[in-house]
Subunit: 115 residues, 2 copies
Amino acid sequence: MVDYTSKICVACSADATPATTREIEEFLQNHQDWFLSTEVDFPQLQRVYIFRNFEEAQKFANLIGNLAEKEGHHPSILLEYGKVTVRWWSHKIKSLHINDFILSSKTEEIYRLKS
Amino acid sequence: MVDYTSKICVACSADATPATTREIEEFLQNHQDWFLSTEVDFPQLQRVYIFRNFEEAQKFANLIGNLAEKEGHHPSILLEYGKVTVRWWSHKIKSLHINDFILSSKTEEIYRLKS
């Protein structure tokens, strides 16, 4: 299992190589709380995090926002009462890239560390 | 035109009276950047705000999150690169309530004051 948390994001260009189906399947097998979004017609990693209230959810959303700024790679973050939905994908290739595995893994790490 | 920004949210119960179609239409006429979401099968007020980058969008999302906590009424806030989508509705009645007009108006006020 690849330890994506130890890697850093690299700039992704329009001709970057998307992750292969095998790489995506392997990631999902090793990160079973993540799934591919059914709301878009391209691969997009999604996870829903549950919290006790809005305040805790907002704090987590901010930690992920700060991570995104630091890495220069941005997800969509849906903040609701007691719930945060995070979606990672690479806009320039409209698909998944190793960057998305890295950032999803770092999102997980932040969630574990704060719990 | 009702000045909703001067009002405060009142606790909403499951038997609270939803806003009437006329009240919703009047609100939308007076707040033309807001529209009814097509993603749900009940009335939900939605507006998309555009920003220069992720950081500015995140700051605005936090201002709206802080407003929600203060008023005890919570929207969904979708944070993306340079974009924040805010949706207000009343969970307990699965419809719109005067609270949602108040909070949408206060969301507008916060956006205007920060610009």
